[in-house]
Amino acid sequence: MNSNAENLRNFRSRLEAIGEGANGEDPMSDEERVRRAGNAFLREINGRMAVDLETCIHCGMCAEACHFYEATQDERYTPAHKFDPLRRFYRRELSPMRWLFRPFTRKVDAAELREWQELVYDACTGCGRCDMMCPMGINISELIVVMRKGIASAGLAPPEVQALQNEQLTGGSLFGVDAAKLRELVSQLKSQQIEVPLDQPKADILVLTTAVDVLVFTDALAALARIMNRSGASWTLSSKAFEAANVGLISGNTSAQALASGRIIDQAAAIGAKTVLIPESGHAYQALRWEGADSSGNELPFEVLAISEFVTRELDAGRLKFKAAANGRSVTYHDPCRLGRHGGVFEEPRRLLEAMGLENRDTESNRRENYCCGGGCGEYTISRAAPLRQKVFEIKRREFENTGADAVITACSNCRVNLMIGAENARWQKPIESLVETVAKNLTDA
């Protein structure tokens, strides 16, 4: 239980090693980069985005929603500026008035793609807070995702992100966590009397985990196993498809994203799963729950649930019960962007906290308006962005402190890693805890 800090230290050095070990840019001519980015833009811009790109009035209000702008007051971090090359590309190539706009609209070049790498990977976590603010109703975060896709196609994703993506694309592992590593952890848990069904031929629920949980938050996986066992459900982990994280979604590589999702979808079909359970990972939820069907091209033959959704359901059905553990402890629930704003899971975690007798004190920004942890969507893997991240962390710290709660609870291991690193750097002592671990601790024994 105290191993988190040590695990985190190991994980941090691993993260830094990725950055140092990664190659530079993919070898490619600049013309080829521009061409590939253009093709990615052409593929990804749909009618909805076209409306958004046509509608932006350059009011700049989105800057005020962006934690990166707020923390630095650097106007380059204005969300509308972050998709400016995409807007220009669109005006030249797809807009209904492209022939009129083209002579007055500068072409996107490779230098700009390089320049925007920092803006859309280091200084944007795709949190979507600006989407909620835009007076024109533009889904800005969606447009910045397309920027990432274009830059990734041009071989210009940051080296860390690129390296992680390649690892998942080729070997299927992440941070070196492969099937063998998973088996090792499962047998470790078994020695602690925690039964983890692995590779059952048939199961109702396919449970996923993430490399971060295997490497850092082993307790979270243990907690998940205890919850599943207590609920009496038929479930399994699969060594063929246990990784919920989807680096393709983060890097902007649609093929990699589809491949990672496809592994899970195929395996769930193979074991006849009716439910796929996503561990504490916001972007994994988005990748499968909201984008899985589109990546695979078919509606999913199973439902996708976040743990808090599953536990709430089991609680309502009476299959799980909490101890009356009310001890006056107060916590602040941090909404992970991709579980909350991008996922729609706001109330289940809060219901669980309440059911466990914990007092939830929301930060001033919460639910759809919550500030991102500052490191989401792969941002925290980028070493050079550490100082920027730390500035953004101060916004979170201020909000958390204002609640006066005893601890921060979240439901995304990436948020948790990032907040813990920020706290450690800032020598901030507030515990940053996991919802699933808290739930597991508070379950009745029978």
Binding site: D26, G38, A40, L42, R43, I45, E93, L94, P96, S153
Partner: protein
Amino acid sequence: MRKDQTLGAYLFSQGVSRRGFLKFCSATASLMALPPTMVGRVAAALENARRPSVIWLSFQECTGCTESLTRSHAPTVESLIFDAISLDYHHTLQAAAGHGAEAAREAAMEENAGEYLLVVDGSIPIGNPAYSTIAGISNLDMLKESAANAAAIIAVGTCAAYGGIPHANPNPTGAVSVSDIIKDKPIINVSGCPPIPVVITGVLAHFLTFGSIPELDELGRPKAFFGQSIHDRCYRRPFYERGQFAKSFDDEGARQGWCLYELGCKGPTTYNACATLKWNEGTSFPIGSGHGCIGCSEPDFWDKGSFYRPIAAGLWGSRDALLGAAAAGAAIGIGTALAARSKKKRANAAKETEST
């Protein structure tokens, strides 16, 4: 009435008192927007002025201008001053007819070469000169001939000044104004359909007083009478400022005397002295009678849409043009969207060949 008699001598011989004469002079001065200090000069000039010879040519016209002039109630200073000029040729008013009439014109032109005033009402057909002839002479030839030795020309009425109603679309006779033909003489346009009689006499008085033509606006009209718009001097203007408009000719607003802007009044874009001098001995003017100004002293007033169409309303052709534009716009939009789709399809196909 001898030609060398001065105007003063003539008027006094007609029984006009000095007091009456000075009253006329100050009225004339104020009419011409001259300062009161100029009254003495006007009086001196008029008193000693020689009665000039005036030749009045009527071309494509309706005689409304002459009717307007003669409708002024006698005895008025206007009528007096008309007695004070030597009107040597005027179809409607002269007693002579046929060859005698033409002989009078020729004699006046010869005797007063370079000094006579030429007054023209009506437009000149140049499409086919035969549309209007006098004594076998086309209007065009008669105008050129009469203008050659004139001291100045007064184009009375909108037809002479700007072509007027004969000039209205489609202008079958090819009607043009005096100034379209005569380029080398001073021309004073006294526009209006018809013009205000006092304005005609005022212009004559100015010519008699100063021996020159008055200051003109860019349309060749004396600024003293055409310097301000009907709207600027309209007694209903306060209703305009307050946004109180009659909506029909018989509603409560119309009865209350509210602004006629919404009923198509052209007062704001029409320059004339109707609102100040008024008509029929200063009795009233169209707006005073409850009808909007039709803009008759402006060029092409007949072709500026309905008299009842407000100035703020456009003069554009038809709603059909907009429907056509809508259809064309939608069609182009669909076309560009389809082209964009096929562009996206090509990009999707190209994806297979890209490794990343």
